[in-house]
Structure formats: structure tokens, C-alpha cells
């Protein structure tokens, strides 16, 4: 469905992604793991159109995403939950959701379905987004992206700074979305979370895709974690 084909991305004169290639199938969860600064977030920004590859191509089915202006990319069905959530903090919960709905001009039924996934937001619709708790903010950021009715969801460290109960909730929703056919690219620092939900894991090292494997293979060979991430896995 999504094909990232040999993209090279630069910040000014500094190359941050080198020949990055992978694909993503419908309903699949691909987790990107790697050290800080390896290029994981840049991959997501390239897919959503915020970073333009100097060479290479990103396509969604027959659509060349790299040829589209950045604001047209989400309209193809790509939802983005940025690192740190980046809610419109001064806007209300309802207005944040409306921003997601506006992009694809969807009606109230989408909003209702999204609120069914996050019932706590229903009680906070008039509240300023910046006053929500960390977990609620993450829910809102995810709900806002889901209002686009995405075929692909890009999640950048969604469990960062959350309590374990909230992490479980977020991961549960990622699993629910898989059942709904939504493919997800998940950038995650918590290896346990990645192993729990991912169908495939891609290790990113120095701007390259170093290796792609299944969670089972990673469980069988934890040395890979030390090699690419510098940590072990609990349990």
C-alpha cells in the first residue's frame, strides 16, 4: 500500500536519511526502533510531506506523495500524531477534532465513531486542549488524526511520558485500529511496547534501515537490541 523507495533527505547540507526503503501493507503495524537522532521522526515527516526527499519516491498505491504539496498529503488518508502531541493548545478539544474533520470534509458520523474510541474526550469537548492531562492529550492527538479517517497512521512516540495504564490504553487502540484495517508506522522508544503490538520491526541506524524483522526474531536474539538501540528487553 505505502512504498518508501530509496529516499534521501537532507536538513540543509546534512544528510539525515540515506536510501531509506520499506513498504507497509494494509492493517500492518511497522515499528521503527533506533537511537535518538537515528532518523525515525524524519521518516515520518517525509511520509506526511513536511520533509521533501531530495531523491527517491514515496507512493501510496498509485499516488506519488513526494509530488504533492504538503497540505495535500494528509488528504490522501494519512494521519499524523507528532512527537510531543503538538495539539492546538489554545483551542478546545472540539476544535482540535474539527481540524481533523475539516481535512477530509467528513461529517458527524466520523466524529461520533472517534469519540466512541475515546469516551473521556466526550466529557471534555469544551475544554482547552492545553489543560488536559498528558494521557488525555495523547488521546486527543490520536483522535484528531483519526478524524481524517486515515488508511495509514503515523505515531511518533505515543507512549512518551505516560503512566503504564495510559500506555496500555494507547497500545490497545493501536491494536483496534489494525483490526479496522488501518496501517500504522509506530516510532517507539519502549521496546516492550514495540514487541507487544508490531507486526514487523525496522531498525534505523544513522539514517538507514539497518534491518527489518519480526518481533519473534527479536525475542529470539536480544543481542540485536543492544546492537541497534543499546538496551535490553525486560522479561
Amino acid at each position: 500500500m505505502l512504498k518508501v523507495d530509496a529516499i534521501n533527505v537532507f536538513y540543509g547540507s546534512v544528510q539525515v536519511l540515506r536510501d531509506v526503503t520499506f513498504d507497509l501493507n494494509p492493517g500492518e503495524i511497522l515499528c521503527l526502533l533506533g537511537r535518538n537522532g537515528a532518523g525515525k521522526t524524519t521518516i515520518l515527516k517525509s511520509v506526511i510531506g513536511q520533509m521533501k526527499p531530495r531523491t527517491g519516491r514515496i507512493s501510496l498505491e498509485d499516488i506519488d506523495l513526494t509530488a504533492l504539496p504538503p497540505h495535500e498529503v494528509p488528504k490522501q488518508g494519512i494521519g499524523y500524531v507528532p512527537q510531543g502531541r503538538r495539539l492546538f493548545a489554545e483551542l478546545s478539544v472540539e476544535e482540535n477534532l474539527q481540524m481533523g474533520l475539516l481535512a477530509r470534509r467528513r461529517g458527524g458520523d466520523v466524529r461520533a465513531r472517534v469519540l466512541d474510541l475515546f469516551p473521556v474526550l466526550r466529557e471534555r469537548l469544551g475544554q482547552r486542549a492545553g489543560t488536559l492531562s498528558g494521557g488525555e492529550q495523547q488521546m486527543l492527538a490520536t483522535a484528531r488524526a483519526l478524524c481524517l479517517e486515515p488508511r495509514i497512521l503515523l505515531l511518533d512516540e505515543p507512549t512518551e511520558g505516560l503512566m503504564p495504564i495510559m500506555i496500555a490504553k494507547i497500545l490497545e487502540i493501536v491494536g483496534t485500529l489494525r483490526e479496522m484495517g488501518v496501517a500504522t508506522i509506530l516510532v517507539e522508544q519502549r521496546v516492550e511496547s514495540a514487541l507487544h503490538v508490531a507486526d514487523r520491526i525496522a531498525f534505523i541506524e544513522n539514517g538507514r534501515v539497518a534491518e527489518v524483522m519480526t518481533p519473534d526474531r527479536l525475542r529470539d536474539d536480544p543481542r540485536l537490541l543492544h546492537q541497534y538501540v543499546g538496551v535490553g528487553v525486560k522479561g
Partner: protein
């Protein structure tokens, strides 16, 4: 009454400046020239049909802001967009725009001030003094426009998109917002508000190619005191500065009024740099 008129006209002008800064993060030094263009174009449109001053003025009220908005869109496309809306570069660019507009008007329109006949002529006579009824029209029209802008910003989809872009342009773009189009629209809206203020005020003070400087200075004072990204603060500060400017000018001197306003800016910058209603830097 003088102070109230000044306050409403200033609120309109400064609101345009505040919108442009709030959403685009651009300090538009040419903003006063959009005010001047509104006034000069008003003279031009009313001169087309001098025998029908009311309809000439109505034509000016509709056409002048549209023309000025179109000039703003062209300036955005030719200058600001090419500079990628970099704050420092756009300050220099809008200084250049100020001189281009000012000198173009001087060349085409001349150095003389030109009067524009008020569309409605009546006097409100009170036992102790009287004043031009047109001033009430200015106050009413400006108040309606302020309410309209407030409604557009807080209650419409465009307003929502504009506020989202103001808070985080990159994230707004990730939700399908064409940021450059929004910027062009906001720049045009800011210019149109200044132009409408210019049209409304021209029957009271004549059109002149240098008339944009005072509104620019006062708008900066208002926006700094109110808070750089606060529309509510802009309107409140416009009333404080406008009323005090009118009262001090009337009983003392206009120079003293400007001195006090500038002093107020200095005090705000020292004790509350974010302005009376502005948020601390995000």
C-alpha cells in the same frame, strides 16, 4: 467624541496589524500605507461620481478594501512568500514596500491633501456642544466590522483554520491546511481592515500620501500594549490609546498625547513584555 472615533478607527487598523503578526509572525511596517491607500482610493472613487457623494462613498467603501487586499496578495506572492516569511527579512521587505507604496501614490496622486465629502451630513446638537453626525456613522460601521471580524475568527471554519495556523503552522499543514493560502488571505484581510479604516476616516481628515505614518505608529503602540498575539488585547488597548489620545489632544496637545502613549509602551515592555493580554512566549 474625537477620542471614541479615534479608538474605533485605531481598533480596526491595529486589528489588521495584530492578525498579520499573530498568524504570520510578520511585523508589517507597510501596514499604515494600506490605511493611506484606502483613503486615497476613497478620494479616487468618490471623484468618479462627484454628483452622487453618498453612492460614491459606498463604492469606495466596497472597492477600496478590495483593491488594497489585491495589492496585499500581490505583495505576499512577490515578496513575503519568496522570503519564506522569515521575520527579520520581512521587516526589511515591508519597509521597502512602505516606500514603494508611498512614493507611487506621491507620483500618481500628488503631494496635496484631497478632501472627501462625507456620505451623510447632519449635526448632533446637544445643549452644551454639537458634533458631526458622520462620526457616529464611523463608530457604528467600525463597531459592526469589529463584531464581524470577531465572529469570523471565533465561529467560522476559516477562523478555526487561521487560529490553528497561528498556533502551529506545521501541524496545521499536517491536517490539510494550505498554509501559504491562509497567509495570503490573512495578509489581505489585515490590509483590507486598514483600508476600510482609511476610507471611514477620510471625510474627517482628508487623503494625503503621508497619512499612513500616524496610524502605523499608533497601531504598533496598541498591539504592543495589548499583546502581540491577542486580538482582545488589541481592541482593549485601541480604546485606551484612542480615548486618551483624543482627550489629551483636546485639552493639552497632540504631541503630549503621543509622548504619553510611547511612554506607556516603554512601561509595558519593561514590566509586562508580553502585553496586557498576550501569552508568554510559547
Amino acid at each position: 467624541m474625537e477620542g471614541t472615533v479615534t479608538a474605533f478607527v485605531l481598533a480596526l487598523t491595529a486589528l489588521g496589524l495584530s492578525l498579520v503578526f499573530g498568524v504570520m509572525r510578520i511585523v508589517n511596517v507597510a501596514h499604515g500605507e494600506f490605511f493611506m491607500l484606502g483613503a486615497v482610493l476613497a478620494w479616487g472613487f468618490t471623484a468618479l461620481i462627484p454628483e452622487l457623494p453618498f453612492w460614491g462613498f459606498m463604492l469606495a467603501l466596497l472597492a477600496a478594501p478590495v483593491c488594497v487586499a489585491a495589492i496585499a496578495v500581490i505583495a505576499d506572492a512577490l515578496v513575503l512568500r519568496r522570503l519564506n516569511y522569515e521575520p527579520e527579512a520581512t521587516i526589511v521587505a515591508t519597509i521597502g514596500l512602505l516606500y514603494i507604496l508611498q512614493q507611487s501614490v506621491l507620483t500618481l496622486y500628488g503631494p496635496n491633501a484631497q478632501p472627501v465629502v462625507a456620505p451623510i451630513s447632519f449635526r448632533v446638537v446637544l445643549p452644551w456642544f454639537g458634533y458631526s453626525g458622520y462620526k457616529l456613522v464611523v463608530i457604528g460601521a467600525a463597531a459592526l466590522l469589529l463584531i464581524g471580524v470577531w465572529y469570523a475568527i471565533t465561529r467560522t471554519k476559516f477562523g478555526l483554520v487561521m487560529r490553528a495556523t497561528q498556533f502551529d503552522r506545521e501541524t496545521a499543514q499536517a491536517f490539510g491546511v494550505p498554509v501559504k493560502l491562509v497567509y495570503a488571505a490573512v495578509f489581505a484581510l489585515g490590509a483590507a481592515l486598514a483600508a476600510i479604516a482609511g476610507v471611514l476616516v477620510v471625510p474627517l481628515q482628508q487623503a494625503h500620501y503621508l497619512m499612513g505614518l500616524d496610524p502605523l505608529l499608533l497601531s504598533f503602540i496598541v498591539v504592543i500594549i495589548g499583546g502581540l498575539d491577542s486580538l482582545k488585547g488589541t481592541v482593549v488597548a485601541a480604546f485606551i490609546i484612542g480615548l486618551s489620545d483624543g482627550i489629551i489632544s483636546m485639552f493639552f496637545s497632540p504631541t503630549l498625547a503621543k509622548i504619553i502613549a510611547t511612554l506607556a509602551v516603554a512601561l509595558v515592555l519593561v514590566w509586562r513584555p508580553q502585553g496586557l493580554f498576550g501569552a508568554r512566549a510559547r
